[in-house]
Symmetry: C3
Subunit: 269 residues, 3 copies
């Protein structure tokens, strides 16, 4: 069981080390992803040019790859930066946005998983179901609702690719295929903020930059993000206010709040 | 005359059906467009890759094409997705951003109109004037001020392309060339929110996804958006607050508010 | 010494002339840059297509080039628009985002400086240090902390390229290599808003569009932006609220506030 103290230590380490995060992401989420990374204490750089992605990935604390707006150019950016990160020992986080929406996305995710070592996969249940080869009622890039067992799917993906899988939802499920956790913080306004899952992936990268135990890093990132959303949502009537207050709460999160609100449990794989 | 009850029914249908909206739009407006689509109850996907746009358009409730940041690549994305939508009977909404600013934009809009069946064109007066071949004091992508008769211009464009034309402004004008409506809700802060017209186009698409009567759909979308803006603006000192509250009001709009505030009139073409 | 009256006159001129600003910028900052330009009274157009950038640059009040997300395509957009602007006598503002982060960025900036006449370079201390050939503790696109003499570096860059250099930071330094000013307004939340430096560059362009004295224009823009940030920050607990209130304060800035808060001093070069 990961202690609340450990979660707090990692939150502090992100703020103290201010890791450089190399983020290749979609045009919808790019601004919130950068602001959210700054709010938790990291230093984001959203570079995609083939001429520079290898150099940047190699000196970063972590690399985050998000397939929300793929182009042939950006796929190549991801492969170049991913290989450079792997070679330099920089952890890579993958966000398979809408993996089940088209063959093109699923094939791209599988190519990235085959060619790169991925530390953490962060997706919603529909996306993880696509990776697990299960049918699911996903709708475009939204999670949708399915009947499958989320933990069983996540475990299978984790074991297949030797990675941590973080499934976001009303309850988050995080597993490395041997140990698993559930994080029960969060708020119903999250799905009304476009790119809220993408920002989650960036925060996973911030924590992967400060702990080589990626299961622990992923749980800590999930708790950080979900508590901030919970505190933001309690003060909001709608998604416009939520988006603003989420950034404030990420910035204002402190030891006392994590101590008081963290709601996690270990579950049997 | 479209009844307020019908407007309310359509608002509910968007929320119940949660139509998948395929949106190809500019980088400025893309985030607000996705958030606004979620706020009214739709499920947006902003895909542009040639490998997947046909597949996504064909299964969407509506396709929205916005020419705000054209590239040769995105023009091809629009043609591919537009043809797939037409073939599948999926309505297409076109937003001719800055159509009068350069020959390149006007030519592109005319190419899209010639090759695709468009259900609704949503533009400001300067943009519709460009399509009608009239001079107008437009400035870049902003509406500018002109002396022309907005309804006459809109009617001409509607008849030429067999489409509904929705002209946004202090008063919105919506026509199919035979019947026309004015929507008088709105707020003076709208032009200070970049991409506010683009989001209007996305909401037109959300309503086109639930009613094959595109004139009715366009009036309902215009009323929905304009009332939300009016209620947001009344609470705001400036455009930063407006942008946030607009999202909240889109999310919070309900039957009672539409009943109370809808200010539309039928006008003689 | 530039008088407060002159700063106020320029602020009014931006609002009265509503200059068209052609902005080629990165995907992170593009939305805030457009909204901020509207808030100070300008009319932004974010065009990048090779087919139209020359035509738009030539009729604009100013052109702003920001290298935050370079691609081979956007570099060509910058060269085409920059040459057209130079030929038409339209001032060009350059924002060398992350110039020290990679050789690719530094080479691109030097190419732009060699081929174009630049009216104002707007960067943080790390970026200006890179142009001056000095080492600096920059981190990706963030300013970092260095030991160099900011004014000496800025002067050198200004004289080398016959341009005004505006260095943003806790205190802004603006120089043309002969005369220099410091602007002491601002707020510690600025670095937590991604693209806040990029928006500064756009506001520099808005002022360059109304005064051919680019030193004066740059000081006025810096004061406008820094006072708005100061007033916004005083009302905010975190960066989410700051971003919104900054837009409001840019829109609400008036003569009285500039009179009351402007904190500038001339410094000896």
């Amino acid at each position: 069981m990961i202690s609340t103290h450990r979660l707090i230590d990692l939150m502090r380490e992100v703020r103290e080390k201010k890791p450089l995060l190399h983020v290749i992401t979609n045009r919808v989420a790019i601004n919130d992803s950068a602001n959210g990374a700054l709010a938790v204490g990291a230093s984001p750089i959203m570079a995609e040019a083939h001429e520079e992605v290898e150099a940047i990935a190699a000196i970063s604390g972590a690399l985050e790859l998000n397939i929300g707006n793929l182009t042939p150019y950006s796929i190549q950016s991801m492969l170049l930066s991913g290989r450079a990160a792997n070679q330099a020992g920089v952890p890579v986080v993958l966000d398979p946005v809408g993996a089940g929406a088209t063959d093109f996305r699923l094939n791209t995710v599988q190519k990235l998983l085959s060619e790169l070592d991925i530390a953490i996969i962060r997706g919603n249940a529909g996306e993880i179901a696509a990776l697990a080869g299960e049918s699911w009622g996903a709708k475009g890039v939204d999670a949708g609702e399915g009947e499958g067992d989320v933990l069983a799917m996540a475990d299978r993906v984790a074991r297949q690719w030797h990675t941590v899988v973080a499934v976001s939802g009303a309850v988050d499920t995080i597993t490395d295929g041997r140990q698993a956790y559930r994080v029960k913080n969060g708020h119903p306004l999250f799905p009304f903020m476009t790119g809220s899952g993408c920002l989650n992936g960036v925060i996973q990268a911030a924590y992967a930059a400060v702990s080589q135990n990626y299961l622990e890093a992923s749980v800590a990132a999930s708790v950080n993000y979900a508590i901030a959303g919970q505190l933001a949502g309690e003060k909001c009537a709608g998604p416009g206010a939520f988006r603003q207050k989420l950034m404030d709460e990420l910035y204002l999160l402190d030891e006392e709040k994590v101590q008081r609100y963290a709601d996690i449990e270990e579950v049997t794989v």
